[in-house]
Point group: C2
Chain length 410, copies 2
């Protein structure tokens, strides 16, 4: 059985309940701003986190839970305030949030994860967080709507929710992965993405879960860039509660391959959607580097292309300015031979080779404009030096990105 | 005698003539697009060049002149076409340009430097380049207007010319440095800046000139970022023709210190002006990191702050979003303790501490808005771990940056 996308979200796997509602942290009157994920039984947990030195308090708390405790049963999420650059008082707030939720759920605080996103440098409004938790616990549900509520509650400047659920076969049984995330700005993940939550009913060894998550994240979330800014709060968490009752996955083999393929499908879907819904974005811009002597070279080149402001502005303007792609590859730090490089632009309108062996082809500007018009554009760069390839996802740089970020806090 | 800024430009030092005029390379009917610098006698030459792997043909040609020949007598500059990603034919065009100018000036081609800026991936229109040189040679002049013409001819999306001349004392004589540059977009220099030309009448050893230029460039041009994109054509050239007849500077000492101070004044002035005139910019944004354990740490932190799209957009919006500054420091790669860090914003309207020991102060938003309003803003970040400091210059990220770059080629 191949990986199949189903109608569902973060609470699709057996034993997971979720909810999302308004606790009053975010300005305005109608926006949801808190969500909760709950597993009926303790779940093995793995996570990847920002590499920014300025780590938000929730990142520090969750690292402890993931790497010292190894199991968790709930996640409390709030938007509007990031609880970053808040020092020891902020750490206390993160811990108090976990402790308060744990008490309400009958758990110990070390099994409760927390995640925050929003403005850096301000304390969490703990009264609102606590009254939010009071409302969240009784609202937990397995219903489809409860996943939608959660997926909507974690958004900030995102224009639409990002969620997915897939089924696949493990040990003769139908396994499920559910997931949701938020992205939009300050997106240039390094070990994790803004906030991404994944659940599954598969029974898998904790260390193997961590290793598999890292591997998948490095090729998906970590290959996205909206603006080159690595957030203080980047977090990707996966909870595996084992309720599928499969023979526990403890090493290499068919079951692990199936699980990894399903997790990759989920993570790639979310990563692409983060890029496509980047702040102010009008286009998903994919860089696909092929013919590399090793994966690392392909990865560095692909990520440099989608991070370049000049390339991103050209994609917004539907300008076949292939020189900017060559330039971004050139300063990436990766070794390659520009004089052997081909650049081809592809979309639903067709494909056109702009650069061949480092030189501009005599391409038709009219044809290029047509191909650059749809809302998903791919640049394929062949450096003709090997068999490795990598893909990175970004978006165009638009007036609205500037508008959103010129006065984010108000 | 201290370094004194005088009214003058690239042809201010003894023995230098310049000119700038329209050769018809650039679209439109009135824009100047070619310039020439000429020294009456052979000058020692030093240069710093882009570290982009995709190096434009003029960069390759000039590297040969600087590092193999060591002396030069003329520079031919064109805008509109960068002669980058043009392969061997492009190299031939660069060499032909040098050769044609050399013939007209009675020099050998190895003593003629060339510089190009503009669209990547297209060949130089050699007929226009040659007829341009035909016009440039008889137009060479020591007059003030000839420096203005040259400074204007090398601009692309720059909104105003960037030139300076200074006098200072060497060996009891009044020495002069003149300079001009262009910047605006694709500005994140790494060993050199977009196109920067410096002349002096000082007699200085060639290797010492190269060493001094590198040192000054690393603290000035290389500390500027407009958009994080390192150009294929970044070039900084200095010609020292020795007509001051000073006792040749051949090592450490007072004369070298004076020369270095003057060169620093010139390079810092131009670097700041490149940042301030960044594409679409409305504000010069300076990051000044102090209290660092070493220069490298301060340098990395300062440059990361002024490169962050999110910080740049906040500066455009006059938003005291100090969390973005902390975030940009955090992902820079440099080691520091966020919990010991202070961030203060300064301008002609005063100064205000936004972050103290990693925590937001209870600052007045009204006061912060007032301080963020002038067109030159400085963020001073004290990491309280030593005595080293560094300064980097950038600009805000605006709607106009996107507009200019969404359709640069048309």
């Amino acid at each position: 059985m191949a990986v199949e996308i189903i109608d569902g979200g973060i609470n699709a796997p057996a034993g997971f309940k979720t909810c999302g509602l308004r606790a009053g942290i975010k300005e305005g009157k109608t926006n949801k701003d808190m969500a909760m994920i709950y597993s009926q039984v303790p779940a093995n947990v793995a996570g990847t986190f920002t590499r920014n030195i300025v780590k938000a308090a929730p990142v520090k708390w969750d690292s402890k839970v993931v790497f010292e405790e190894g199991t968790a049963q709930a996640v409390v999420i709030n938007v509007a305030v990031a609880n970053a650059s808040t020092g020891l008082p902020g750490m206390k707030d993160a811990e108090d949030t976990a402790e308060y939720a744990a008490k309400k759920l009958g758990l110990k605080k070390e099994n409760v994860l927390v995640a925050s996103t929003g403005v850096i440098g301000f304390r969490l409004p703990m009264d609102k967080i606590k009254s939010g938790i009071d409302m969240l616990v009784p609202a937990l549900s397995e219903e489809r709507q409860a996943a939608l509520d959660a997926a909507n509650a974690i958004l900030t400047t995102d224009t639409h929710k990002k969620e997915i659920a897939v089924t696949f076969e493990i040990d003769g049984k139908k396994a499920t992965i559910g997931a949701m995330c938020k992205g939009s700005g300050m997106i240039h993940p390094n070990m994790g993405t803004m906030l991404s939550f994944i659940t599954t009913d598969v029974d898998i060894d904790k260390d193997l879960l961590q290793k598999t998550l890292r591997e998948v994240v490095s090729k998906t979330f970590n290959m996205v860039s909206v603006d080159g800014d690595t957030s203080t709060n980047d977090t990707c968490l996966i909870l595996a509660n084992g309720l599928l009752k499969n023979k526990k996955i403890e090493g290499e083999g068919k079951d692990l391959d199936e699980f990894k393929a399903a997790l990759y499908t989920v993570a790639e879907f979310l990563a692409k959607n983060i890029a496509k819904d980047g702040e102010g974005a009008t286009r998903l811009f994919t860089a696909h580097v092929v013919g590399a002597p090793d994966y690392e070279t392909a990865r560095i080149l692909a990520k440099s292309i989608i991070t370049s402001n000049l390339t991103k502005a050209a994609i917004f303007g539907r300008d076949a300015n292939c020189g900017r792609i060559m330039c971004a590859m050139g300063y990436s730090g990766a070794e390659f031979d520009p004089d052997k490089t081909d650049v081809t632009i592809k979309s639903s309108e067709g494909s056109i080779k702009l650069v061949e062996n480092g030189l501009n082809t005599d391409f038709s500007e009219e044809e290029a404009l047509k191909i650059l018009t749809p809302d998903e554009i791919t640049a394929e760069c062949d450096i003709k030096s090997g068999e490795f390839e990598a893909t990175a996802w970004g978006c165009d740089l638009t007036y609205d990105y500037v508008k959103i970020n010129a006065d984010y806090r108000s």
